[in-house]
Amino acid sequence: MPAEGSGPLADVAPEPGVAKPDPILVVDGVTRRFGGLSAVDVDHLEVQRGLITALIGPNGAGKTTFFNVVTGFDGANSGRWTFDGRSVGGMAAHKVARLGMVRTFQLTKALAKLSVIENMKLGAVGQRGEGFLSALVPTLWRVQEREIEARADSLLERFSLGHMRGEYAGSLSGGQRKLLEMARALMAEPALVMLDEPMAGVNPALTQSLLEHVKALRDEEHRTVVFVEHDMDVVYDISDWVVVMANGRIIAEGTPTAIGANKDVIDAYLGTHHDAPLSEAEEERVLAEIEAVIAKESASD
């Protein structure tokens, strides 16, 4: 953790929606509703370039939905957002990824019946051999394929997966899959890496190595990282900035120290409804709504 009072965000006020000196991702008025439930309702959020931003919040706060919406995996009901100055609102997920915003998943998506090295090679963008006709002419893509393989091998070594290169990805342990997914995302040379719970289900011995890898993304490769995490020790350890979500809204942001002292955050985590992320009245209302719809449909049958 950088010392307080230094770094590009030292002078940024710790308040929700605050402007940053050099934002790579700017989100404006994004909402995502499921029926009556407002899963995401973010007025304004800026993510500073080249730093590690943690997104925290209780279960059901809308962190993953927010990830899905921003990366194009889910549609927003309203709102605009730009990545690196380009509007990406409503853009298809694969196009967002090609622009350099690559995400990983909470439930790891290792491509089980592909070997580890094939998983890695898939991650490279702009492959000439991925066209139907050019695929039939190996001379068009063989050189590039070798370059990709070399890059994949060096990444595998860095992530201590070199010895598994020929194995099926499905035979990796949970922690190794997390590593593979992160390494595979790096094959796409992303400017912004969005990690959805990278430490979930990883044994403590591997957690430290994963943390070092995340730090290296910032320190050695100058990539921007946004990650969702529950473990506050991890958050304090590696993040430069923390954004707190609850009930779909951003309730606080600031440096880790500022967040640790924030009363709203403590309420959100430990307050009256710390194990009931939705208020019960809210939940009952949604349930009643669903039941009404079902009743209406069965009546019309």
Binding site: T71, F73, A92, A93, H94, K95, A97, R98, V102, R103, T104, F105, K109, L111, A112, K113, L114, E118, K121, L122, G123, V125, Q127, R128, G129, E130, G131, F132, S134, A135, L136, P138, W141, E145, Y168, G170, S171, R184, A185, M187, A188
Partner: protein
């Protein structure tokens, strides 16, 4: 019992017309299901279009055979697009429902009275195969070796058919070792992962559906010229399920899986039928227990039993890798 005759018939079944047709249908399914994970239950529709594309072009419009082959390919492409545009954005099981319905719908359309002028209704068409056999460069007469003695025209059909099988296999092999094939396999494993790495999943699924459909349609073309006729009821859903059987028998996502699977499927069918007929003819099975007219049904029961046993003892098929199945269970 005439075991020699049974074995000769069985060997012939391995390279006969049906093996070609189902090899092509199964190669197409291998692209769809084996490599891309698309649950296409309408392969019979592609095969039917392949047969009728040629038959209608030549018989009704009086055009050349070459134009007929082009129509076969074009109609498969159009059918794939029609099926794919609405369903490929949805989950895979929707594709299964839509394809099985579409292929049955297509069959009913082909046998409808309204379209009778084009399709010949339920009797089908037959006056189109002349061109195919008139370009036969092989010497006339009847010749061959061992059990494989055929007329010149049959040799010509077998040559063209197996050439198509080899070309389709070669094409699939070339594509699946390329980065294009890697994207297809990644979609089969997890399409959201592919999407998160910048792959246009919808576009690749569409290409896969078209490619596999066209290969299946070539199977229909072979069936049409080999039998010199097309009848709508020969293109029921059984084609789809037999093709799946052949594919799984050989091993999914294996280059030679569908070809060897199709050959083996017809070998087993022919062998079972031969043995049953001989056994009834020689009173090994008393005619009070089973008659020769029941053999057609009983052979499928026995084959079904055999396949069930295969799935228990060798679920990965002939060429498959058992480790892959273990991965699915994780």
């Amino acid at each position: 019992m005439d075991w020699g005759g049974i074995f000769e018939n069985t060997l012939r079944a391995a390279i006969a017309k049906d093996a070609i047709v189902f090899a092509l249908a199964a190669i197409g399914l291998n692209v769809h299901f084996g490599y891309t994970g698309l649950l296409n239950f309408g392969q019979a529709g592609f095969v039917a279009l392949g047969a009728y594309g040629t038959a209608i072009t030549v018989d009704y419009y009086g055009q050349s055979l070459w134009l007929g082959v082009l129509a076969t390919i074009a109609s498969a492409v159009v059918f794939a697009l029609l099926l794919g545009v609405p369903t490929l954005r949805l989950r895979t099981d929707y594709l299964a429902i839509v394809t099985i319905a579409a292929s049955e719908g297509l069959r009913l359309l082909l046998r409808s009275v309204t379209l009778g002028d084009f399709t010949g209704g339920s009797t089908g068409l037959s006056g189109f195969a002349g061109d195919f056999y008139s370009i036969n460069p092989l010497p006339g007469g009847r010749y061959g070796f061992g059990p494989f003695r055929y007329s010149s025209d049959t040799w010509w059909m077998l040559t063209v058919g197996w050439t198509l099988v080899l070309l389709a296999t070669l094409l699939v092999w070339a594509l699946m070792r390329s980065p294009w094939g890697r994207v297809l396999k990644s979609i089969r494993e997890d399409e959201n992962a592919a999407r998160s790495l910048g792959k246009n999943v919808y576009y690749y699924k569409m290409q896969s559906l078209v490619l596999g459909g066209v290969i299946g349609a070539l199977g229909g073309f072979v069936n049409a010229v080999a039998t010199r006729s097309v009848q709508p009821d020969n293109y029921g859903t059984a084609i789809t399920f037999f093709a799946y059987t052949a594919l799984i028998l050989g091993g999914t996502a294996r280059i030679w899986g569908p070809v060897v699977g199709a050959m083996l499927f017809w070998v087993v069918i022919s062998f079972t039928e031969g043995v049953l007929r001989e056994a009834i003819g020689n009173e090994v099975i008393p005619s009070s227990f089973m008659s020769t007219t029941q053999v057609g049904q009983v052979r499928f029961m026995l084959v079904g039993l055999g396949l069930a046993l295969l799935m228990i003892f060798r679920p990965q098929g002939i060429f498959g890798d058992r480790r892959e199945l273990a991965l699915d269970a994780r």
